[in-house]
Symmetry: C2
Subunit: 332 residues, 2 copies
């Protein structure tokens, strides 16, 4: 009995050691650079060893952890909210950006620029309590489908990135999202989908205030931007929320550049990675040689960003050649 238990235990350990933590990654340079970094910062006695509390990794969300094409998911949420709320707002028939949106003309609606986006944000993301907003997002994301693939948005997360997040966590990293997207929009589902809890999500936000309703304190969302977590804002967001410099950063667009530079600017071993969307067959192709179909906060992976990555030694992941699969197996 004892002997057989010992044998079983050894087998389990060997299997765990042999198990590939990144099964959806091909064996190219991107994968090698990830594994080499994790091994050197976690090997006791290594000159690059980093104590567990300092193993902070930050991930952009749109285009880095899940699909952002043909438009960011949060924009589809806003459009669906406009449709759902339209019966209570007959005036929207003659009022932009709502009139165009209700006619299905997103391009005309967004021609109003930042002002149109802010009106859309105010109408769809504010005025309710924090608990009500969270419930609205949870209900929506449980059933909303992507316009071209027909999949749930939460089934369009990148399987190789899920493995990477889990691999870092298994190696003592604390994983954070640092996204230009709405912080409370993401917090409603990131724990379930990525295993990243609300307190490890950093994002853009609206102002809020404390109010008493029926003798209970509630937080009410106000139609005013509080923080824009994009470009330099991502570094400020990291400082405010995390309070220390990450040692690893993952992004896909010019909105992530400062976050990667700031990560790289610390002392000791550092890791920076950009996801290059070059896989039109399995996802969307909008790399350096292509314009981005819909304007996106934070912008695209530009030729300048590609040059920057090359110069600074950032790892660039080709979705086409570095990833065996794009989406989780159950939904492929």
């Amino acid at each position: 009995m004892i002997a057989s238990s010992l044998v079983s235990a050894s087998v389990v350990v060997a299997a765990a050691q042999a198990a590939d933590p990144l099964p959806s990654w091909n064996g190219g340079q991107a994968r090698q650079s990830i594994v080499a970094f994790v091994e050197k910062v976690t090997t006791p006695g290594s000159p690059d060893f980093v104590p567990v509390p300092e193993r902070i990794a930050v991930f952009d969300n749109d285009g880095t952890l899940w699909c952002e094409q043909p438009a960011p998911v949060q924009l589809y949420f806003a459009l669906d909210r406009v449709k759902a709320l339209a019966p209570q707002h007959p005036e929207w028939k003659d009022q932009e950006p709502f009139a165009s949106l209700l006619k299905g003309d997103v391009k005309a609606a967004l021609a109003g620029g930042e002002r149109a986006l802010l009106e859309l944000l105010a109408a769809t993301h504010t005025g309710m309590t924090s608990d009500e907003f969270s419930a609205i997002v949870k209900d929506w994301i449980a059933t909303a489908k992507h316009p071209t693939t027909g999949k749930l948005y939460t089934d369009m997360v990148y399987q190789p990135m899920l493995e990477l997040v889990a691999y870092l966590r298994a190696n003592g990293f604390k994983t954070f999202i640092v996204s230009g997207g709405g912080i409370e929009f993401m917090r409603a589902w990131t724990e379930r989908v990525y295993g990243i809890p609300p307190e490890q999500v950093v994002g853009s936000s609206v102002k809020t205030k404390l109010e008493m309703r029926d003798g209970k304190p509630v937080i009410v969302r106000l139609p005013e931007v509080n923080f824009n977590d994009d470009k330099a804002g991502k570094v400020i967001g990291i400082y405010e929320h995390i309070g220390r410099r990450p040692i690893a950063a993952f992004g896909n667009a010019v909105g992530d550049q400062q976050m990667l530079e700031y990560t790289q600017g610390g002392s000791g071993a550092r890791f920076e990675l950009l996801v290059l969307h070059d896989d039109a067959a399995r996802e969307f192709a909008y790399g350096p040689t292509r314009g981005l179909p819909v304007a996106k906060t934070g912008g695209a992976f530009t030729p300048a960003l590609e040059e920057h990555a090359r110069k600074d030694g950032w790892t660039v992941v080709s979705m086409k050649s570095d990833w065996k699969v794009v989406y989780p197996a159950s939904t492929r």
Copy 2:
């Protein structure tokens, strides 16, 4: 050998189970209410069971985790910075609040109210990079001594509260500081002193900006208030940083009232506690029947707050009768 190992293991387990997690607490109602709460939310199958990710506990800092008398520690830090910087600022000799401070007259300096405090904050907490500020705080707190006890400030943390924080953590709670104090002032030492990492510290902040210096990105601290984490601000700070409602909250003054109310306002088992400073012999006495010697952001434990606690069933800890010791043994 095997038999004796098994016996040793059993002894160790029994000792661990028998070990008192709160040895500095007397066996009164306060202690009982803490233990009863923790047991009911952590017992699987209990109607009050709370899953680990939702076990969020928030602690005020000044007067709840460490001594805030005769004035908050951060004010002493600012005063010492004024003295250290005075040679570079000859104009301060004739300029309030600095002139009074340099003469040692804190009361006259603070007579300038909020404007004087903001000038003091700007002169002592801003203008440098985030890394420089963190280093200044770390250097200062390693040697600075309390004006009446002569102890290091970090030796004037409350031993029973250290035990309580550790007890909650051992039971799957994530512990956060939510303080009116400066977020970066606290982050420089809370991990070492309380075991609370920077990303679990919420506090007041100044605005910051990203700058390139010598080709490296740095964060520069600006002389403008960004967020006041006090009273209703504590609830907003919790929403922004943590993104879910705590199930336990610990404070000592009117600045904590909204945070405790918000905690209590959620569904399921909740716990709220106030530390009452009624121990003039071992610490300071400034409870409901006494005025507070130095004005403090967030104010004191007022008679109205005591009445509020009684009405809402909040646990009130008498330092005098509930705590066997106040400060850690090595420094008592």
